[in-house]
Symmetry: C2
Subunit: 367 residues, 2 copies
């Protein structure tokens, strides 16, 4: 039977074992966390299709998926010259916080590599060429649609030369972040707040507005359940024109520093932070700051901590997005990757969304 | 070893088989739907503890749990004189839309009955006495705390002599029910709207405000996916002082009728509808009506259809609940019974909440 669609043509170029391995690699990728790096999964199969190892990337600073898979074979002294590394993204050729995956594949003696989609990042790309130079058989394009789609916001951010941006809201069911009198500590549960600290420990920078600094005087550090500061701390960024007070808590820590950006423009903030090497940025509010990033189409991931409470009045989580009529509503979708779209955190729900694939409005990137 | 707690004393009065059966009955009860009738489960066990049948009640108009269990044994011609019916609520002795459960148990020849908690409803109670008069061995109180808690809002409604009240919100993630220009059709997906129609087909009455009638001109009928009207239709109630227009769609259907209540007071509405035999009432909005029932503590179940969209402005799902500060926030909890607290409906999430057990405010019944 001859193939009748492009899809079949694509698949015909690869063995069933490689196709199954790529499906497994995509599933492994989805177990990761979003951020400065994309979700990536890797599977090593033997010549007869036996799965030897499965790896996934669990976020910036942890091993890449290829290394994770290779590490799990450490000590087996197996000849991998007939084996295939099947990976959802082109192996990097870049010495960053971790060693280049191209070198790890070469060192492991793996003879074949199949990857889904090219690395768009100028700094990290070139892995395939490097592998070919070493005589490794390299092919690509298998399930590239799925691999691109899974990380479409990350690809868009890389292409735009800006950080991956997570926005975090902590709200009641009726989307209030403070009561009528301004009281806001605490809308959500200790479990949700600890999860926020875990996120802080994963991002490169946090942005809040001057209003939040004046209202709450936050430290903006990543802290453990016992209040102790986590090993990795994000850059603490305040945006807005009012000068942050000399004794503000956000200034208290030296490394990494505190930064005030005297602007209301999210585009200026992402540009400035990108130039400082920020790969993952988290927006923590308040309403105006969150809305400004959302209205500008500069949010790649939206995390909503939803407390099972009602206020009926007070400060809404978002204010004006520049939307006048329902047809212009921003379209999102529940993010089924990583922890799933809904997670229970004590009494709260954690909802994770990503911009919907099909644009419903034309005035915002990613929407 | 002698029992050292009340809990142990309670359990010592019942065999292990009966205790396990009650746990099973409670789990079966949780598969039902909330409404005019409570969640009830029933398990029939043999003398040696073998489970013969499991029944649950699936909502007003469907068989009670006891009958459901007995029905599943139909045709087996088994001698049940040594068997035990284990049920989470006292069997009813009332001819309503279904026959009395007491009679069904007598007719089945079941020799023993254990139930968790007395039926609080004057009309339906008396089942235990009736069974005893027929020589059946009846005991009660096993896991009554769990059985009461599962239906605590239903018990409260019966005690207060009012319908069980469900409030339904269909909103964006930022809790808007219409855009800035008033456009509101449709915030949620066809799947969510069909689920709303299923709910309408289950309740005795729907309440909206005059504002909703004027803005949307809804029919307020229960309809199937093809638009055809469902067999059971709720009473359509409009509350508010402005007269509903003679040609309003809500008036179009005769049976059951349309009713306007010239009041803004939810207490008047529930009193009036209770006197008309309404056992389950659904509040469909708008913001003022939903908020009025919530502020009065007259909502037993809150269903939120959450569309993965953002508006940033427009009409909030709720307005003033009379709450000034965060400590007064209404405390709810996700309702893990029935469909679970979170259900996926097409692109939307359906969240189901019930008032939290521990009161956080003192000014509203059930909160």
């Amino acid at each position: 039977m001859s193939p009748t669609t492009d899809r079949n043509l694509e698949f015909d170029a690869f063995s069933d074992a490689v196709i199954v391995a790529m499906e497994t690699a995509l599933a492994a990728a989805r177990q990761g966390v979003r951020g400065a790096n994309p979700l990536v999964g890797a599977v090593i199969i033997d010549a007869d299709g036996t799965v030897l190892a499965i790896g996934r990337h669990l976020g910036a600073g942890t091993p890449h998926a290829e290394a994770d898979a290779i590490n799990s074979l450490r000590g087996t002294r197996r000849d991998l010259s007939a084996a295939t590394m099947v990976v959802t993204l082109e192996p990097c050729d870049h010495q960053g916080r971790t060693a280049p995956c191209s070198q790890a594949i070469i060192d492991a003696g793996i003879g074949n590599v199949v990857y889904a989609v090219d690395d768009p990042h100028a700094q990290a790309a070139g892995g395939a060429d490097r592998l070919r130079l070493e005589g490794i058989n390299v092919r690509s394009g298998l399930m590239d649609t799925e691999a691109l789609d899974m990380n479409r916001q990350w690809f868009a951010a890389v292409k735009a030369g800006r950080p991956f941006v997570t926005a975090r809201l902590a709200q009641t069911v009726d989307s209030r972040i403070a009561a009528a009198d301004g009281t806001s500590q605490w809308i959500t549960s200790p479990e949700s707040r600890q999860d926020s600290h875990t996120l802080r420990g994963r991002v490169d920078a946090i942005v809040v507005g001057t209003g939040t600094v004046m209202a709450d005087n936050p430290r903006l550090t990543a802290r453990g359940p016992d209040g102790s500061e986590s090993a990795h701390q994000p850059l603490r960024v305040v945006m807005g024109l009012r000068e942050v007070a000399a004794d503000a808590a956000v200034r208290h820590r030296q490394d990494p520093g505190f930064l005030q950006l005297h602007t209301h423009d999210p585009a200026v903030v992402v540009r400035e932070l990108h130039s400082r090497g920020v790969g993952h940025l988290m927006i923590e509010g308040g309403s105006k700051i969150s809305a400004a990033f959302l209205a500008a189409g500069l949010v790649d991931e939206l995390i909503v901590y939803l407390a099972p409470t009602l206020l009926g009045s007070g400060i809404p989580a978002l204010n004006d997005l520049g939307i006048g009529t329902l047809a212009q509503a921003q379209q999102w979708e529940w993010d089924a990757t990583t922890t799933g779209p809904v997670e229970r955190l004590g009494p709260d729900l954690k909802l994770t969304l990503m911009p919907a694939k099909a644009p419903a409005t034309t005035n915002a990137e990613g929407h």
